[in-house]
């Protein structure tokens, strides 16, 4: 599956004229314009593993270092953007071969650093993306499934998923709450800008334009109980969407349900004091 993987990975990069031929070869719709690409993969769902696997829900940090360490363990030099989906797909393609050590490395790369964040990421892409992105996500899903069949099941849950605990108890402050809600690996769901817009629309609240933390802070300031309740429902919806399959989607499902329960508790507690001062 090396060629298809590499081609799909390239389409995570900013569009250029070569992408048309690649998309056609993959039987995908015409690739998006630069603006569409930026809207989806630049602002909403940056294709970096560290954002979805890191406890901070941000680019870089320990999650990225862990992936860089994979390259060092192989005796190589980490790429500049080691956790970018394009780089990871290219790496999987590079690690094709019959040598048992290569096979082991490929399996480790796939399960630890790719498959570990694909369930919520691809689901979010289907949810908010353009027709191209939805089709791209579906094809990625299918190719990864085929890849998993070749590689064989993982021997253990990926470290990134084991390393980060779900939130428990009341958050220390609003910043702690925002940090937990916006870190997919902690809360078990992916909240995009579009999701927050949907939340505001459903609840009839005003959405302040800005990055997610700013917008969510503003929403919580309007009626924390309502917003936390919506988030709990969203976490449950996203969790329920993960099918059975391997231990990784099951983990995301369980983490999402735990996140939903935690948010429900916070929503109930907030019901008496609807506004949270930011």
């Amino acid at each position: 599956m090396t060629e298809a993987l590499r081609a799909l990975g390239v389409l995570a990069e900013p569009p250029c004229s070569e992408h048309a031929a690649i998309a056609a070869a993959l039987e995908l719709p015409p690739p998006p314009s630069a603006d569409e690409h930026m809207a989806v993969l630049g602002f909403q769902l940056p294709p970096y593993a560290s954002i979805y696997l890191g406890a901070e829900g941000m680019l870089g940090g320990e999650a990225r270092d862990r992936i860089a360490g994979f390259w060092r363990a192989l005796g190589g030099q980490p790429p500049r953007e080691p956790d970018h989906l394009s780089v990871l797909c290219a790496a999987l393609a590079e690690l094709a071969g019959a040598d048992p050590r290569i096979r082991t490395a490929r399996a480790a790369l796939y399960w630890e650093h790719v498959a570990s964040w694909m369930p919520p990421y691809l689901a979010a892409l289907r949810r908010i993306g353009s027709p191209f992105h939805a089709a791209w996500a579906a094809t990625l899903d299918a190719v990864f499934a085929a890849e998993a069949e070749v590689i064989g099941p993982p021997s253990a849950l990926p470290l990134a998923l084991r390393a980060v605990a779900a939130p428990e108890g009341p958050p220390a402050d609003l910043d702690a709450l925002l940090g937990a809600v916006l870190a997919p690996v902690r809360i078990g769901m992916v909240i995009t800008r579009d999701d927050l817009a949907r939340c505001a629309a459903v609840l009839g609240f005003g959405l302040r334009a800005g990055e997610r933390r700013f917008a969510l802070r503003s929403l919580l300031g309007q009626d924390a109980g309502e917003v936390l309740g919506w988030l709990a429902g969203e976490a449950r919806r996203q969790a329920d969407a993960h099918g059975g399959g391997s231990m990784i989607p099951r983990w995301w499902q369980a983490r999402g349900r735990a996140g939903a329960d935690w948010l429900d508790g916070l929503a109930r507690a907030a019901a008496g004091s609807p506004a949270i001062a930011g």
Partner: protein
């Protein structure tokens, strides 16, 4: 959705179809970060949005590659030529270049500044009035060339060929100009190398034959630098990027630098030794490796010339390796860490720690010294010799992660014409006192001419500025202003410089994007060939407009040297009677003038293995391929050439001597790579050297007299220096024992990261970043002298003094001061022309008295805003351009390598009340005395030559004359 396996096959087929057309299917993962490059199939018509207009405005470019000309690294550049206006709009890295890999330092993109420099020289100029008066008249190229050619012709026909001299600073090419001079039949090549790298070269040359290292940094586990490579070293960019990659992999970096340079700040181990003590440190480490048994015994036994050492030096022929090892164990036993620590003024344990790091490198030790300590000290060549000893002990030679001989990592193709070696020896460049000098004694020229050893009919300075770059510049001014000593001085230069002010003709030459050259350098274990080209000429050709003369495409009447030399040679020998013209004739059109298109077409079609096939695969002719991509990787993964078996066909009537050298009567196959290689002699019966016997096989070995790595140099021993034939420690002329109690050591050799001698002064971006050179001084010394940062100090040398601002910093060791000699540019008051961004205006006062000439330079005006065609010159905010300290340095030629030993013993004190920043005073009679004093250290060839020749024939020489002129006049060659 299609089955993933089918999808995979479908994509694969699509990719193959696209790549079969020579196009890019995958634009590459690099596009997600800033290292993105335009795909090469779109280089004909590349669209970018103009960053300088508020509205979206697309600009269409033709991307034309060339090679940077601002240092010797030969990094690839990509010129963005505006398709509408046919102007270069910017220069970025060439991603196709295997050495620089699309990455450049600041000097590469700043080539654009050099193109658009409002002060650049655009037409040929002829002096009006006296030399140095600063008045010029525009002349035609024809007028200038006819005058110059007539003088050269007369000198040659009158047997005064050695009065024609070409003095080069930055060659930027591999052998073209040497062949021009050979075609003229003169020994007229004069390089700047003895003020630059001869010390470093000599130490490598005596070990492995080749005179420069090619460290495989990218694969090294331990890197040792005696310099500031990461910021400003000789191969700054290609080497620095590989050092950074190695460090990211976990490699350890050891830096010896008396300054806390940016490079030192990145080191895992930084040693700031007393200047000149470096060899003592390396010998202590070498002894540690031997004493602890961590050297590679097998490598030493196979590849060192230990048998020759035992047999000839110690008189023990037939000695076993075990006996040698006993000698080896004792050889440097007195170089303990404690001894080295005393010499270096550092902690012995710190030295032991780096010794253990080096020991752990095994064969992955990459090391380098080029200028720095090797260029600063008497005996500095032993710094490179003792540093490479560490590689030789560990077997870290010509292997992955080790250090290669440069000649194996460089490619020089055979040109269309190869004239014979000139039948002359020039005493002005290769004086008899320096038989082992690595390069021409260029910086002694005023003194040698002053001694009456010769005069110059035509003296070319080409991209060279000896008045400013060399030590003792006032002696140069005295020579250049004396019409009996220099009858015609022609400055070939893209930009104004101090020396050109004293020229008779100033002829404008192109910068890196305006000229042709072939250029190859050792950047890693591969061989590549870079093509420099006038990008506007190439762009026009792509659009179908043939250009036969580079002047038609360059700004003004700016030319390039390749075409200039062809034209000049035809004018020297218009009818071919002198036998010169034939070397500049077309082969495609016999009897007609050779053009540069044919010159390079011939090379690319016939002399670069693999290039025609690669070009054909893209449907291109080889010349078109090089014009399109600018570079070709000939080979990669060269590996240990010394261990390659010599084919049986090359072993006709082979004999092996007692030292294992194998000689053959088989003719030497013509190599495709004509990179300069030393030429050890054959045997007494006329056989040539084919290789050496190792483990029962005949292998190539090294191009040294013994065929092996030379622990002991028979050449040094037989040519008068037996005490230095082994790697050893020579006390520097600035050793503490040589200093008076109130003297400090001045280090002038380091670069400012973006500036390189005169070359970069016409780049406004670089000038804005770096334009001055304060004196680094330790707080302890500053307190003693009573000066603070910004305060003026007088730095007194042997022949005068300069006044400079102090920079008080703990980034330098006490007892040492440092001032970069890449600053301090000036132009004469009253001169019509000059570079306005970085040249201060000065007044020179010459006071000739009965006891000599005293010179004073005083700054009239620093730089400042001025009106020009470039609005940026109105925005110049700096005025200080530093101090020209080199004027105050006497010549210090190392008696063996010939290297100018740059470091100075100085007295530093607070400036006098009347002193002003950048004041200079020099007594050139003291310069003469210093010259004579260092000359007295030499052991001239007529006293020490073992065979009646001027110089060991096997040693490299930039322009090698015919063998018969090696014989010393009046001496019969002795039978070896």
């Amino acid at each position: 959705m299609r089955d993933p396996k089918q999808l995979d096959a479908r994509v694969s087929a699509a990719r193959q179809a696209v790549e079969a057309r020579g196009e890019t299917f995958y634009p590459g993962a690099s596009r997600i970060h800033l290292a993105a490059f335009p795909p090469r199939e779109r280089w004909d018509d590349w669209v970018e949005v103009d960053a300088r207009t508020p509205e979206r405005r697309e600009r269409r470019y033709m991307l034309v590659p060339t090679t940077c000309f601002n240092c010797e690294s030969a990094c690839g550049l990509l010129a963005y030529v505006d398709r509408e206006r046919l102007e270069v709009r910017k220069l970025e890295g060439n991603p196709e270049h295997p050495g620089s890999r699309g990455r450049n330092c600041a000097k590469g993109p700043a080539t654009l500044n050099q193109v658009t420099d409002p002060d650049r020289i655009l037409t040929p100029l002829k002096r009006v009035g006296e030399r140095g008066e600063g008045r010029w008249a525009q002349v035609s190229w024809d007028e200038a060339l006819d005058d110059i050619a007539a003088r050269i012709r007369r000198a040659i026909t009158e047997g005064r060929g050695n009065e024609v001299m070409y003095h080069v600073g930055r060659p930027g090419e591999d052998g073209y100009t040497e062949r021009v001079l050979a075609a003229w039949g003169i020994d007229g090549h004069n390089s700047h190398t003895n003020i630059c790298s001869s010390g470093g070269r000599a130490g490598y040359h005596y070990w492995m034959g080749f005179d420069r290292p090619s460290p495989d940094y990218g694969n090294a586990d331990v890197i040792v630098l005696v310099s500031a490579h990461l910021e400003s070293g000789h191969y700054f960019n290609p080497h620095a990027q590989r050092i950074v990659e190695a460090r990211q992999r976990g490699a350890k970096l050891i830096v010896l630098d008396v300054r806390l340079s940016n490079t030192a700040s990145q080191a895992d181990h930084w040693i700031a030794p007393q200047p000149g003590s470096e060899a003592a440190i390396f010998l202590a480490i070498a002894h540690h490796l031997i004493a602890t048994g961590r050297h590679d015994r097998g490598f030493v036994e196979r590849w060192w010339n230990w048998q020759e050492y035992m047999a000839v030096a110690l008189g023990r022929p037939g000695a076993s390796f075990a006996e040698f090892e006993a000698e080896l164990a004792a050889l440097w036993s007195h170089y303990t860490f404690e001894f080295a620590a005393r010499e270096a003024g550092v902690d012995a344990e710190a030295l032991r720690a780096i010794a253990d790091v080096i020991a752990g490198a095994g064969t992955r030790l990459a090391s380098h010294v080029w200028r720095s300590a090797a260029a600063g000290n008497l005996g500095g060549w032993q710094v490179s010799r003792t540093l490479f000893l560490l590689n030789a002990l560990l077997g870290a030679v010509a292997c992955e992660g080790g250090t290669y001989p440069n000649g194996w990592n460089k490619f020089v193709p055979r040109p269309i014409h190869t004239p014979p070696h000139p039948p002359r020896w020039n005493e002005l460049t290769w004086p008899v006192e320096y038989p082992l000098a690595m390069n021409e004694l260029s910086f002694l020229l005023p003194h040698l001419v002053g001694d009456g050893r010769g005069a110059l009919e035509v003296y070319f300075t080409r991209v060279y500025n000896p008045v400013w770059t060399n030590p003792d510049g006032f002696s140069w001014i005295e020579m250049l202003t004396d019409p009996d000593k220099v009858r015609l001085h022609v400055a070939l230069t893209p930009t104004w410089n101090e020396t050109a002010q004293y020229a008779d003709y100033v002829l404008p030459m192109g910068v890196g994007s305006e000229r042709h050259d072939l250029h190859s350098y050792e950047t890693h274990d591969a061989q590549w060939l870079g093509f420099r080209q006038p990008v506007l000429r190439a762009a026009r050709a792509r659009l179908g407009a043939a250009v036969a003369d580079t002047r038609q495409a360059n700004p003004g009447e700016v030319w390039e040297e390749n075409e200039l030399w062809i034209e000049l040679s035809w004018r020297i020998d218009p009818d071919g009677a002198l036998g010169i013209r034939r070397h500049f004739e077309s082969r495609e059109r016999p009897g007609e003038k050779l053009g540069v298109d044919e010159y390079y077409r011939h090379i690319f079609e016939r002399a670069v293995p693999g290039l025609p096939a690669r070009a054909a695969a893209e449907g291109l002719a080889p010349l078109d391929y090089m014009r399109r991509y600018g570079v070709f990787e000939v080979r990669r993964g060269i590996g240990p050439v010394h261990a390659e078996a010599v084919p049986a066909a090359e072993l006709d009537d082979a004999v092996t001597d007692a030292l294992g050298r194998v000689y053959t009567r088989a003719p030497k196959p013509a190599p495709d790579n004509i990179v300069p290689v030393p030429t050890p002699d054959g045997d007494a019966e006329g056989r040539r050297r084919a290789g050496i016997a190792v483990d029962g096989r005949v292998v190539r070995g090294f191009p040294t007299p013994s065929g092996r790595l030379e622990l002991w140099s028979r050449t040094l021993a037989e040519w008068g220096w037996p005490e230095h034939a082994l790697p050893t420690y020579i006390e520097s002329h600035v050793h503490p024992r040589a200093l008076a109690a109130d003297q400090l050591v001045l280090i002038p050799t380091f670069r400012l990261p973006v500036q390189v001698h005169t070359r970069s002064g016409n780049a406004k971006w670089l000038d804005e970043i770096a334009h001055t050179n304060p004196l680094w001084i330790h707080p302890r010394d500053a307190a003693r002298i009573g000066v603070e940062t910004g305060g003026l100090v007088r730095v007194e040398t042997e022949i005068g003094y300069f006044v400079v601002k102090a920079w008080v910093t703990e980034g330098i060791r006490p007892g040492v001061v440092a001032c970069s000699h890449h600053m301090g540019r000036w132009k004469l008051a009253g001169a019509e022309r000059g570079q306005g961004q970085v040249m201060a205006t000065v007044a020179l006062d010459r006071d000739a008295g009965p006891d000599g000439v005293r010179w004073t330079m005083r700054r009239r005006q620093g730089v400042g805003p001025y009106a020009s065609s470039d609005p940026d010159t109105r925005r110049i905010w700096w005025s200080d351009v530093g101090v020209h300290q080199n004027l105050t340095f006497p010549v210090h030629p190392d008696p063996i390598s010939g290297m100018h030993c740059w470091h100075q013993a100085v007295r530093v004190r607070r400036a006098e009340p009347g002193d002003r920043h950048a004041d200079i005073f020099v007594d050139t009679e003291k310069s003469r005395a210093a010259y004579r004093s260092w000359l007295a250290r030499t052991r001239p060839a007529h006293q020490v030559s073992p065979d009646g020749t001027r110089r060991p024939y096997w040693l490299l020489r930039p322009l090698k004359p015919a063998r018969e002129v090696y014989a010393l006049p009046g001496l019969l060659p002795r039978t070896p």
